[in-house]
Symmetry: C2
Subunit: 278 residues, 2 copies
Amino acid sequence: MIGIGLIGGSFAIDIKKHHSEAIIHGISRKEETLNKALALKLIDKKATLDDLVNADLVIVSIPVDATVKLLPIILDTISEKALVIDAGSTKEAICKAVEHHPKRRNFLACHPIAGTEKSGPKAAISGLYTGKTNIICEVEKTTFKLQEKALTLFTALGMRIRYMDAVSHDKHIAYVSHLSHISAFMLGKTVINKEKNERDIFDMAGSGFASTVRLAKSSPAMWTPIFKQNKENVIETLEEYINNLQHFKSLMEQDNFSEIFKEMESTNYIKEILNGIN
Amino acid sequence: MIGIGLIGGSFAIDIKKHHSEAIIHGISRKEETLNKALALKLIDKKATLDDLVNADLVIVSIPVDATVKLLPIILDTISEKALVIDAGSTKEAICKAVEHHPKRRNFLACHPIAGTEKSGPKAAISGLYTGKTNIICEVEKTTFKLQEKALTLFTALGMRIRYMDAVSHDKHIAYVSHLSHISAFMLGKTVINKEKNERDIFDMAGSGFASTVRLAKSSPAMWTPIFKQNKENVIETLEEYINNLQHFKSLMEQDNFSEIFKEMESTNYIKEILNGIN
């Protein structure tokens, strides 16, 4: 496991459940993270990149900028039979970073749509991936045997698999994930800026505010490189979102509340869409 | 109970729990709502405004524009001893509608910060108000006896009481509640507009998106009049929110990701604020 936070740690817990014989080695930049992961029994041993030569399976769940830098080095080091999977929220830059690597066929590009706003080893939980979608990109570039190995694991963990090209992944995920994070962060910022000297005011906040702003608890170290790598798509979603908000504001300024009613009514359609998402 | 949806119905359930002797009469514009409420045993009897003369307690939980129109008529009709409370998400217009009414002292202006994105009698649940904040405005305008009666009920239901003037209520609630709804509705609109022809894409949406967009399931009939009554405050929050989003977008366009990191890091402070909100 390279990176043993919420994503890597939750993989570790469920892999142990299905493969009690597995010996999980943890690699992290921070000694503190490794110690926490050991104490929580997420990993069996601390390791370094030099140990990768002995790995059967390498799961990379670190910020996407670190993945881009480290993935070629990982592929340099692993044995011919090892499978490397990542869990990054962007796919184009990561796939590009290893497109000409001689061991490209040992890598499977993945994005499990699972997670919470929490981070670090303590956030790892069993069952995080049950019933969740795992998006696999450029599957044809991975050897058949290693594809199969990965699918066996994902199936055991209860994941639904979807295949997609990396460019489409990054375009669509900007809408259904990256934009939500910015909308939550900026909502949090707006309210904090206004109300920071009036802590009492937050007694007025209910579960609706908590739900809408929840993603503003997310890790900046994880999200900054995602926005950087997916810059063009994210800017496009932001432009559309801002335009929609400005249109809503104009309708209010014009006292066009029948149109505001319609805006909300047509968006209620999200109910149907959300059925099945937890 | 005038209005027997999520808010009124949930009051009805818990009032029955604490006062099994209570006979709950339901009033609604829609016969269908009354029939549902009867079938769900939220109310004991159907009633009309003419029956208000016999009520001890009248709870008004209907859209805020309807409350502004109906509240003077309710006060005209009730007996001298009756207590009328509302549950509207705006307070200034509602208080203003009855400020000179001869029975102003029979009315207590309330806003229980409780609810979900659901609506209608079927959405009513027991315990909705347990541990929730109830904001009471202009308490001094209600007779002492009726204040006491209301507080006894709210305490039995497990609510925390906070007192506030109506103008401050409307200003702050725009930030911690009304803005969240618009941000969710416009997020939903942005994603639906982009992806409506690609239903598969919503398989890529995870719990983060679901949480951020949840309020976009809310009732337009309830929310349109709220935005109308709180127009000036809501427009102000929207301006600040749009400015913050535009600033974030500019930082991205300028590749100023160290500043983007700081934006998110300082907003992480929302964690502390949200502690205690469910």
